[in-house]
Amino acid sequence: MTAATAPATRSLATTTPTDRFTRAFAAHLRSETRLILREAAALIFGAVLPLAAIIVMSAIPAAREPLADFGGLSVVRTYQPTILLFATSVLGLTIVPAILGGYRQAGILRRLRTTPASPATLLAALFVVVAAVGLVVAALIVAIPAIAGAGLPEHLGWFALAAVLSLVAFLALGTLLAAVVPSPQVAAGLGNVVAALMWFSAGLWLPRVFFPDWLVTLTDLTPGGAATQAMIDAAVGVQPSWQPFVVLVVWTAAAALVAVRTFRWE
């Protein structure tokens, strides 16, 4: 069939719901990509800051040397999981509730309800865009020290799995915050508090190797602690245990379930 023989107007009967979803989703995807790239504040904490940290550390020769205190890892490789977790937690826990809550507050989701495209299409596009930013940042956080000569995590696959699961868990938790807290400012503020707890669990202020046992056990139950532990194990070449992955999946499932049940378009 050629364009010339097609009727001038596409009728409803000839466009399937899937076609229509795909068109609307693609349009939202383009739009959300443009918007997030224009939203400098969103990217400074979630992308620029962690990348700057990993670049600076990778540039310092002493930070690339293995240290016995850190279980044979260099400073940059020790902090690599923490910095990665910092990026995914900021994107998921503060950027998502700020954007989502802002859209709801401005009536954007409500306005979309009056169109043939469900506001869920916008949410899907937003998740994809934020997740894509998170994946690019995570990939750079792994690649930059490697390029600088500090090496790659020993079990790269397990490391990547833990990184991706942390990103997904934080997206779900960020959506949960947007669902249960009406104000986008308050939701993003709470997201910051939760993110700070995740950074602590991930060993931002005190590396996890120095944690007492009880604190390891406690933080292992948080998505931040679980993901970091799995990434640290993968980094030194220890086969990560199944527990951190279960912790991440449970957090993701629980947050997503409650978010889907409580989220309102207006």
């Binding site: 107007t9 596409r10 009728s11 409803l12 466009t15 719901p17 229509r20 068109r23 609307a24 693609a26 349009a27 939202h28 739009s31 443009r34 918007l35 224009r38 939203e39 802002g102 859209y103 401005a106 009536g107 954007i108 409500r110 306005r111 309800r113 009056t114 169109t115 043939p116 495209a117």
Partner: protein
């Protein structure tokens, strides 16, 4: 043929009942205005009819569909412009039109709407940098981009200057000629009188009047014929004339209210008695007058 049929529509927010059983039909191609004071339930009524708010009771039928079930075909044919609805501040005008046109099977070209709504020069401007009037025009353009058969426009020209308002009326007039059915919520009697085939006046969640703007205007006392008082005039004889509803004397002038033919009847009666009506004035009540007398806004509170 009725395209929209609403019957017994009720809605409460908590214990406060906002709509007390609204009945309304809108024929295909008709433009119906919903008037009423703030808080009378206009927006709630239109949003319940459009399926954006859940109604408590009654039925709504739009082209055979119930909006409460949110059928895709209805969203395709019904364009809604809502009050207080923004776009992301960094989204540009042209991008917004492109985005929304991707939702519809057969959208209007964005260029046509940019021209029509005076936004062509602002296509690259972000939403947050537009003036209130420009944002409003973009909002109407987005409601019309899907070539809707039916458009619900809530306070469409609020915040616009008179020239922009006229241009939008003109464009809606063109859409009416194309057969687009419209439900307009408005505060402006002039807008209702200019655009609407029929208006309904809401007061406290009830329809207190409905009809053509001219009928409604005439309905509250009709024509008023007034002239200088003269002792020779027999007021009781005037009161008995067909079509006359009231006769009063105030500050040296006689005022006779009556139906559309009453001025002729009154003048003929005066002429028959050999009286010349001096300082004659015949006034047609406006929709404004009718609105004020029908709603509490007109009563002294």
């Amino acid at each position: 043929m009725a395209l929209i049929t609403v019957s017994g529509l009720t809605k409460s927010y908590g214990t406060h009942q906002v709509l007390h059983g609204i009945d309304l039909t809108v024929d295909e191609g008709e433009i119906v205005g919903v008037l009423g004071p703030n808080g009378s339930g206009k927006t709630t009524a239109v949003e319940c009819i459009g399926g954006l708010r859940a109604r408590d009771g009654g039925t709504v039928d739009i082209a055979g569909m119930d909006p409460a079930t949110d059928p895709l075909a209805l969203r395709e044919m019904l364009g809604m412009q809502l009050q207080q609805c923004r776009l992301p501040n960094r989204m540009r005008v042209g991008e917004a039109l492109d985005l929304y046109s991707a939702f519809y099977a057969n959208p209007r070209p964005a260029g046509e709407l940019l021209d029509r709504f005076g936004l062509a020069a602002h296509a690259r401007q972000p939403f947050g940098k537009l003036s209130g009037g420009q944002q409003q025009r973009l909002s109407i353009a987005l409601a019309l981009i899907g070539r809707p058969r039916i458009a619900f426009l809530d306070e469409l020209t609020t915040g616009l200057d008179p020239a922009a308002r006229r241009e939008i009326w003109e464009y809606l007039g063109l859409l009416r000629d194309e057969g687009v059915t419209m439900l307009l919520v408005t505060h402006f009697m002039e807008e209702a009188a200019f655009l609407c085939d029929r208006v309904v006046i809401l007061e406290d969640g009830r329809i207190v009047a409905s009809g053509t703007p001219a009928d409604i205007a005439a309905g509250t006392g009709g024509q008023e014929t007034s002239f200088a008082a003269d002792p020779a005039i027999d007021l009781d004889a005037l009161r008995r004339l067909p079509g006359v509803t009231s006769v009063s004397v105030d500050r040296g002038r006689v005022s006779v209210r009556g139906d559309a033919d009453s001025p002729q009847v009154v003048l003929a009666a005066l002429a028959g008695s050999g009286i010349v009506a001096r300082q004659l004035r015949v006034t047609t009540p406006s929709l404004d007058d009718a609105y004020l007398s029908l709603t509490q806004e007109g009563s002294l509170r």
